[in-house]
Every structure is written in structure tokens, then in C-alpha cells.
């Protein structure tokens, strides 16, 4: 067991909910860089590191980690409030894979040495992590991954390729899913490996996406030597750990924030385009509004479960489905009313709030990442509705 002294000396769980909310809100408002509110694109490390360091210095970087690991140890109810305030203010997502994935992974499955080595460096911002999951032939069917790690004495030799690795160019460490047993059933030969990105044999190539942004990368591994002590948990049991970590992602992807933000911009655009008063627009707008409100209620019912300390089941896929498709319907409506502005590369009139094309393009991957919506429907039909395979 490691013991890290938290930067935040007080146990914030002792505050009542409203006091806590106000406390968090005030601090965010006076510390978050104004020019980075609701950024139109995912920020790179050099842009978002001042905010990361602010959070780290305050001791608020890892609200969900236990206090003895340097986190805030917030109760589920307080974590929800914390997240709501971050989202309300439009704070950019940081390079948070260390915080939300590696930290919980090591806290639950890591050795004391791994915890001691890696957790403090996430908290200090010295290690920025990226996630090596998807491969060219293992996207929706992630368990088909083929990047292999072969044990050679006390070292794994890693060969293969990862893709859609978010912000890999900013990261100096990578947590990898690798195949360590080629003969086992595909889910049962996968292990978790922690890899220093400076190791010889690693090549990172950015991918330019439809936003003309280099958010994703390909990462190539050519005889990369990784110490065997960097394997997390039991060899060949990595899949179960990975699945458990994804439950965070599914509720995060179901949060109404993207749809709510786009919906507010839709109104601004309609007013600018002079269609706000039109009955036909009001009809579509009203329907979208009702969908957004009901999404909030549905999200609230899942959040209530978390608040009661329950774990979420596969039915949380419903949120991801409805949220992402609503986000797309809102941005579809933006293009429809934008006239020839629907072909602009940049925001209209240099106004970030009038950015129909940017929002439309940003909405595209929402139904693809985090398990495509087709995969989410498969999950629902098999694991919630009990329909036969």
C-alpha cells in the first residue's frame, strides 16, 4: 500500500451538497482560463496543461481516487456534483487517461511498486498517458486485437500497431492491451502492459481527421522491449480489467453536455439566420428540446443509481445511443438552416458560437467511438433484452 499525502487537506465529503457545489463552482470560475471555455476542438497538452497543473496543485485532479493515493476520495454523489460543475463551466477535457483509466487500474489491480512508481507521476503531471486499445483490424471487435507481447526472460517484446490512439503525440506513457496467449479464446489471451513511449521501436503518426485536427494517432511497435514488471494484474486476464474500466466511459458518453451545448448554439444560429420565428423551425426545435429534456431525465436516473452506490449495468448503453444520436440530429438541423454557410470551413463571422459546420463534423465520431452505436444496440439486445445470439 502506498501512502501519498493529498494536497487537499480537508475531506470535502463532510460538506453538505450545496456548500460543496458552491465551493467547487467558485474555485473553477476563478481558476479556469476564460479563453478555453467550451473549446471547439480537443486540446493538446501544451494548451491544457496549465489547467491540469492548477487542478493538481489544488489536489483536485483525481476526485475519484481514494485519499491515500492522493485523490479526493469523493463519494459518488460528490463526484457527480464535481463533474456537473466542470461540465457546466465548459472546462476542456484534459489529457485524462492517467486519471480515469490508469489510476483506477493500478489502484485496483496494480502492485504496491507499480502504485508507488506511477500514481505520484500522474498526480504531478510528469506522466501523460495514452490508451493503446484499437487496432486496424480490431475496432468494434476489440478482442480480436493482435499486437503481441512475447516474454523473453524478464522482458516482453512487443510488436504490432495501435490506431485511434487519442493524443498519443502528447503522451509519454501508454497503457496497452496486448495478446500474450495466441492459443487461448480471444478474450482470454489479453494482458495489460504499461509502456514508456520513449522506448526504442515506437513510432507515432498523427491522423488528420474530418475536423482537420490531429486528435488521433497511429502507434507502431517494432520489437519494443518492456520490463515484465510493467504487466498489470494477472497475465491473460487483461480483458476483464479493460471491460470494467469502460463502464466509466459509457456514462461519460451519455452525459447531455454535448447535446445541450449544441442545442444552445442552434438557437443562436436560428436567430442569426432569421428563421427563429418560423413555424417549421419551431416545430423541429421543439422536438429536439423535448428529446434533450428527456435525455436529462434518463441521465438523471442513471446518476441516481451511482449516487446510491449501485454499479451500472449494460443498460447504460441506452444513454450513449440516445445522446450521440440527438447530438447529431441537432447538428443536422444546424446545417439545414445554415444556408450556404453549411460549406464554410471556419465559424461564421469569426464567431465561435456560430459554428454549424464545426459542430456537425464533431458530431460524426460520437456514434463511432466508445463502441459504435451498432455495437451498443448489440449489447442492449443481447445483455438487456435477452435476445438470442
Amino acid at each position: 500500500m502506498v501512502a501519498i499525502t493529498p494536497n487537499e487537506p480537508q475531506d470535502l465529503n463532510l460538506l453538505d451538497d450545496e456548500t460543496f457545489r458552491t465551493h467547487v463552482r467558485r474555485w473553477i470560475e476563478s481558476n479556469y482560463p476564460a479563453e478555453l471555455r467550451n473549446p471547439p476542438k480537443r486540446l493538446h497538452w501544451d494548451e491544457n496543461k496549465p489547467w491540469y497543473f492548477k487542478l493538481a496543485e489544488k489536489g483536485w485532479l483525481c476526485p475519484g481516487w481514494p485519499r491515500q493515493f492522493g485523490g479526493l476520495g469523493l463519494s459518488p454523489a460528490k463526484q457527480i456534483i464535481f463533474t456537473e460543475e466542470i461540465e457546466r463551466h465548459g472546462c476542456a477535457r484534459t489529457n485524462d487517461h492517467g486519471i480515469v483509466m490508469v489510476g483506477p487500474l493500478l489502484i485496483n489491480h496494480g502492485t504496491a511498486e507499480q502504485q508507488q512508481e506511477f500514481l505520484p507521476k500522474i498526480l504531478s503531471g510528469e506522466h501523460i498517458w495514452c490508451q493503446g486499445y484499437s487496432e486496424p483490424n480490431a475496432g468494434s471487435d476489440l478482442a480480436a486485437l493482435r499486437t503481441e507481447a512475447v516474454l523473453d526472460g524478464d522482458t516482453y517484446i512487443v510488436n504490432g500497431q495501435k490506431i485511434w490512439t487519442t493524443l498519443a503525440m502528447d503522451a509519454n506513457w501508454c497503457f496497452l492491451l496486448v495478446r500474450t496467449d495466441k492459443n487461448a479464446k480471444k478474450q482470454e489471451g489479453i494482458s495489460f502492459l504499461l509502456v514508456d513511449m520513449a522506448t526504442p521501436g515506437i513510432t507515432v503518426k498523427p491522423i488528420i481527421n474530418l475536423e482537420y485536427h490531429d486528435e488521433f494517432c497511429e502507434v507502431f511497435f517494432d520489437n519494443v522491449r518492456v520490463p515484465a514488471r510493467n504487466l498489470v494484474g494477472t497475465p491473460n486476464r487483461g480483458w476483464d480489467m479493460a471491460k470494467a474500466l469502460l463502464s466509466f466511459e459509457r456514462i461519460y458518453l451519455g452525459s447531455p453536455r454535448l447535446s445541450a451545448y449544441a442545442f444552445a448554439r442552434l438557437r443562436q444560429l436560428a436567430e442569426r439566420m432569421g428563421v427563429w420565428e418560423e413555424a417549421a423551425f419551431q416545430e423541429s426545435y421543439g422536438r429536439l428540446r423535448m428529446d434533450l429534456e428527456d435525455l436529462k431525465s434518463l441521465y438523471g436516473s442513471f446518476v441516481d443509481k451511482l449516487r446510491r452506490g449501485e454499479t451500472l449495468g449494460p443498460d447504460v448503453s441506452m444513454l450513449k445511443l440516445f445522446q450521440t444520436e440527438l447530438f447529431q440530429r441537432i447538428t443536422d438541423t444546424m446545417l439545414e438552416i445554415a444556408g450556404e454557410n453549411a460549406g464554410l470551413l471556419e465559424p461564421m463571422e469569426g464567431n465561435r458560437n456560430l459554428n454549424p459546420t464545426g459542430q456537425y463534423i464533431q458530431a460524426r465520431p460520437a456514434t463511432i467511438y466508445g463502441g459504435s452505436n451498432e455495437i451498443q444496440r448489440n449489447i442492449l439486445s443481447k445483455n438487456v433484452l435477452g435476445l438470442p445470439g
Binding site: Y261, D294, S297, S301, F322, L385, P388
Partner: protein, 356 residues
């Protein structure tokens, strides 16, 4: 969880259990079918049983003889009654009890609460409205299950208030039309020479009671869609074509997943609205919450019900197969206490947007 939430969870569970005894989920379609198109379209003994269980006064205060519970309980009950397809006019009876509790006729209130007297409120003067103007001589339309009424309640406008009158059904000038689900829909001539006054001013309570009725109707729809969807899943798991169980076809699986999302949205909207009303919300906050729920229930409910017919194929189009009973009931209740369009417009007019 707080003690109050625990109590609430427990009272909702008890109400669901007792509902199951009177109207088992989809378990008694023989009874439901036997009552169709046979006057009065429901079973007075079952109606009386519902009264004896305290259902009509669930949200009526204990002082007035009700159970003193809230809308969370009422929508849970409505959901079970919807799932069980019980034709007895539960929501109209709740509405009447609410109004009588604000009046002076203790005997009629007691009989209505007990289910001994079927009291239906003839508040509506036109299609698709939540307004009860109480125009003294206006015919009252779309009275659900009117064939079974013993007494009608009529809101009657007087200067700047709305009085409540009671009109005996015997001898009333009532026209009946058959409803799609085998019940009746009545039009009543408002003959004020035959009425007795039971309350001086029910304007505010009527507005609230109509909102509660709209929300309870959303609960009925939730029960209908859930039960019809369960039947459909059962069919998808067993029906074979092309040598395969049809539930293995991905196009059907994905459609089923989408319907499940609509059911979840409806439940979330209905339960959230009930919680808003139970917190004592009034005015625009109450109306917006109710409209959100009734809008969702009408839209998503009918989507699920018609897709359930489609997913069954030809058998779903027969009167003999039960899934059609749910669609028929859905058609009868979808626009009661306001259509999706009415509620969407009301919500948009009332609910301030979050400004970001």
C-alpha cells in the same frame, strides 16, 4: 437512502403488488375481452374493489378520506393498470375524487372514493385541450367510459369562479360512441336544471387535477408499452423463419434496442415528473413537468405499440392475438388530457431554457 425515500419505495412496491392482484400484467386478457363492447365496458365489481383498495383517493389527503400519498404512487399504479389492460376508469375516478375533496358533498365523496358510485367528470368542451372553461350550456364531450357513470360532475363558470355541479346519470341526455378498445365515449348535454351544486370554486383544483390526470395517463401508457414490448420480445425469442429464431436477426435486434430506449426515456420522464409534483411544485413548474411526461408517453408509447404490431408480422394484425389490445388502448388514451403536440407547445411556452 433517507427514511422518507425508503417509505416511498415501500409504498410504491405495495401498490404495485395490490395492482397485480386486481389486474395481473397481461394475465387476464379473457376478462378484458369479455368486457369489450358489452355495456358498460368495464366490471363494476372490479371498480368497487379498486375503490376499496383506496386507489381513487391515493393522492387525496387523509383528512378528506384519501390515502394521502402522491403522484409517484399514482403513476406506479397507473403503470400496472395499463400493463394489465384493466378497462375500469381509474384515472377519471381519481380526477373526480380530487374535485369532490374540494367540495361540500361528503356523502358523494365517500361513495366515489369507495368505488360504490361511478363518478365521471364532464369537463371537456372540445377535442385536445386541458382547459375546462365551464361554459354553462356547452355540451360536454369525450367522457371516457360514460356508459358506466352513476353521476357526472360538471364544472360551471360563474363570473370569476368555476363551481362544480353533480348531475345524476339516470335520465341524463347522454350520447354514446364506441371506443376502439371496446369501451365508450360519451357526449353529455349540460342540463343545469337537473344538477346540484357540490362546490363553489374548483378552478385551481381542477387545473391541478387535470395535470395529475395527464401524468397518470402517461403512467398508463408506460404500462401498455412495457407489456406489449415484453410480449414482442417473447415472440422474437421463439418464432422461427428461414430455420432460425427471428430474434437472431440483427435488424430486429436493433429495432428492439431502439424501442427499449424509448421505454426508458418514458419511464425517466414520468418518474421525474411525479417527483416534481410530489415536491409540491405548482404553476408553470408543475405544468412543464407534466407536459414533458405526457408528450414523451404519447410519442414514444405509440411508436412502441405500432412497432410491436410490425415485429409480430401477420399475427399482430389479428384481433385474436393480444398485442393488438395494447395498440387499441393506446389509441384511446394517447390524446386524453392533451396530445403530444399540445403538451410540446405548452412545455415550450412555459419552460425557460438553460442559458449557457
Amino acid at each position: 437512502m433517507s427514511a422518507a425515500t425508503d417509505d416511498r419505495t415501500e409504498s410504491i412496491r405495495m401498490i404495485r403488488d395490490s395492482a397485480g392482484a386486481v389486474a395481473p400484467r397481461g394475465g387476464d386478457s379473457k376478462r378484458v375481452r369479455a368486457l369489450r363492447f358489452a355495456s358498460p365496458g368495464f366490471d363494476r365489481a372490479v371498480f368497487a374493489e379498486m375503490g376499496a383498495l383506496g386507489w381513487f383517493g391515493l393522492a387525496v389527503s387523509e383528512d378528506a378520506g384519501g390515502a394521502g400519498l402522491g403522484l409517484s404512487e399514482a403513476v406506479a399504479l397507473a403503470e400496472e393498470i395499463g400493463a394489465g389492460l384493466a378497462p375500469e376508469p381509474l384515472v377519471p375516478a381519481m380526477l373526480s375524487a380530487r374535485l369532490l375533496a374540494a367540495g361540500d358533498d361528503a356523502a358523494l365523496l365517500a361513495a366515489a372514493l369507495a368505488g360504490e358510485t361511478v363518478v365521471l367528470t364532464a369537463w371537456q368542451e372540445r377535442a385536445d385541450t386541458l382547459a375546462a372553461p365551464g361554459t354553462p350550456d356547452a355540451p360536454r364531450v369525450f367522457i371516457p367510459m360514460a356508459a358506466g357513470a352513476d353521476t357526472f360532475l360538471l364544472p360551471v363558470r360563474e363570473a370569476n369562479r368555476i363551481a362544480l355541479h353533480a348531475l345524476p346519470a339516470a335520465g341524463a341526455d347522454l350520447t354514446l360512441e364506441k371506443a376502439m378498445d371496446g369501451g365508450t365515449i360519451g357526449t353529455l348535454r349540460a342540463d343545469l336544471s337537473r344538477t346540484t351544486r357540490v362546490a363553489d370554486d374548483v378552478g385551481a383544483v381542477l387545473e391541478q387535477a387535470l395535470d395529475e390526470a395527464a401524468l397518470a395517463t402517461a403512467g398508463l401508457m408506460l404500462g401498455l408499452m412495457e407489456r406489449a414490448f415484453d410480449m414482442t420480445l417473447g415472440y422474437l425469442r421463439t418464432r422461427q423463419q428461414f430455420g432460425r429464431i427471428i430474434g437472431t436477426f440483427q435488424s430486429l435486434q436493433h429495432r428492439a434496442a431502439d424501442l427499449k430506449v424509448h421505454i426508458a426515456l418514458t419511464r425517466a420522464a414520468v418518474e421525474a415528473a411525479a417527483a416534481v409534483l410530489d415536491s409540491g411544485a405548482t404553476g408553470a413548474v408543475r405544468q412543464a413537468a407534466v407536459s414533458k411526461a405526457k408528450h414523451r408517453a404519447a410519442e414514444s408509447g405509440m411508436l412502441v405499440l405500432r412497432q410491436c404490431i410490425q415485429l409480430h408480422g401477420g399475427i399482430g394484425y389479428t384481433d385474436e392475438y393480444d398485442v393488438g389490445l395494447y395498440l387499441r388502448r393506446g389509441m384511446v388514451i394517447m390524446n386524453q388530457y392533451g396530445s403530444a403536440t399540445l403538451h410540446r407547445r405548452r412545455f415550450m411556452a412555459l419552460a425557460p431554457e438553460d442559458v449557457e
